[in-house]
């Protein structure tokens, strides 16, 4: 028995743009895992990635993702993935449009577009790789950097992070979920549900930047990061009175010496428009 090395390509190789790999992301970065979960989720829908789906990304580490997979895709200007996706969806409503971008892109420079997209209910799937930092530019504070953590632009304790789940619920998104990149087992199914939601679906995908943010703020290695995510995750209990949606119950806790201490995860809202 002899192995044919020409057949050893990755199981998802036909969905990857092989000539662009290996990607530019650092060792242990959650983005690669998230991207794989996305591709697996998209595959589960049974749709043709090339003809029926489009993946739009903004600028930043996450922005480069659309170049690595065989979705039709576009790498837009900083913060503008959502308006671009809105144009695509309204140009051709038969396409499933996925926005895959980062916390800085979607919620700092592009924050206004997010809340309006959620308000409008044009069918989009928005997946935010939320790693609490601007990685590509070297570790500046992002709108989801935690209090008392260190970044290259934190002068005093001036940070108070957005709770993206709370924000999405408030703005009116139809599907709101939060998981971490370490939930790679169930993420594809969550992503499939998000894509199939008729309306605005948002996933706050908690991710790690072990090379920059983690190193300074309590999760110095990728291994520790994955363990930390799983240990800190608490599946929400859906309550009749909706109290599981109160900001204090959706908020994450973070300790700069230990990493995450509480990550409420689960599907917070699911309604078709």
């Amino acid at each position: 028995m002899e192995i044919d090395f020409s057949k050893l390509h990755h199981n998802l190789e036909d969905k990857l743009t092989s000539k662009m790999l290996p990607h530019i992301w650092c060792s242990g970065c959650s983005l690669g895992t998230n991207l794989q979960s996305l591709v697996r989720g998209a595959t589960l829908t049974g749709l043709d990635m090339d003809k029926e789906m489009v993946m739009i990304s903004g600028i930043g580490c996450t922005g480069r993702a659309s170049g690595y997979v065989e979705f039709d895709g576009f790498h837009t200007t900083h913060g503008r993935a959502i308006p671009f996706a809105t144009g695509v969806k309204t140009g051709n409503p038969n396409l499933e449009v996925i926005v895959f971008s980062g916390d800085g892109d979607l919620f700092s420079i592009g924050g206004n577009h997010f809340i309006h997209a959620a308000r409008r209910k044009i069918d989009l799937t928005i997946i935010c790789t939320n790693n609490s930092v601007y990685g590509l530019t070297g570790g500046q504070a992002s709108p989801t950097s935690f209090e008392k953590t260190t970044t290259t632009t934190t002068v005093v304790e001036n940070l108070r992070p957005f709770n993206l789940v709370d924000l999405a619920l408030g703005a009116g998104a139809d599907f709101v979920a939060r998981y971490t990149s370490a939930h790679f087992k169930i993420l594809p199914r969550i992503i499939k549900t998000a894509i199939e939601t008729d309306g605005v679906a948002f996933i706050d995908l908690i991710s790690g930047c072990p090379a920059i943010y983690g190193k300074k703020n309590g999760y110095p290695t990728p291994e520790y990061m994955v363990k930390n995510f799983l240990e800190a995750s608490v599946e929400i209990e859906v309550k009749e009175d909706g109290s599981h949606l109160l900001p204090e119950n959706t908020m994450m806790h973070f300790d700069r010496t230990k990493g995450y201490t509480k990550i409420p995860v689960g599907i917070f809202r699911r309604q078709d428009k």
Binding site: I3, D4, L8, H9, P22, F184, K185, V226
Partner: protein
């Protein structure tokens, strides 16, 4: 055990694994960045890091015979390094396109 539990070429390490030795676990060394996530997520402690480095300067995972082809590491890998195939699909003369 088959006569060829592990094969290498310039890019890939292929391990024949699983209880019935019917799966091939593959490490694509070219893409590996040595993050060790695969080692940490493996439920069977089947992986360890190498002692030598890839051409790009990273340590990479090595299988130690305990792999059950459960695919946890494959899903966790951020760099599209790991994959699992059926043996018959990847041997010379196999039936996979």
């Amino acid at each position: 055990m088959t006569e060829l539990p592990v094969s290498h070429n310039k890019r890939f390490d292929a391990y024949v694994v699983g209880k019935r030795s019917n799966r091939v676990f593959v490490v694509d060394r070219d893409r590996c960045k040595g993050c060790r996530i695969c080692v940490s997520v493996c439920p069977y402690e089947a992986l360890a890091m190498s002692t030598d480095k890839t051409d790009r300067g990273y340590f990479y995972p090595v299988e130690n015979g305990k792999c059950t082809a459960c695919k946890q590491c494959l899903y966790a890998c951020p760099d599209f390094v790991l994959s699992v195939h059926k043996v018959e699909e990847v041997v010379v003369g196999g039936d996979k396109q």
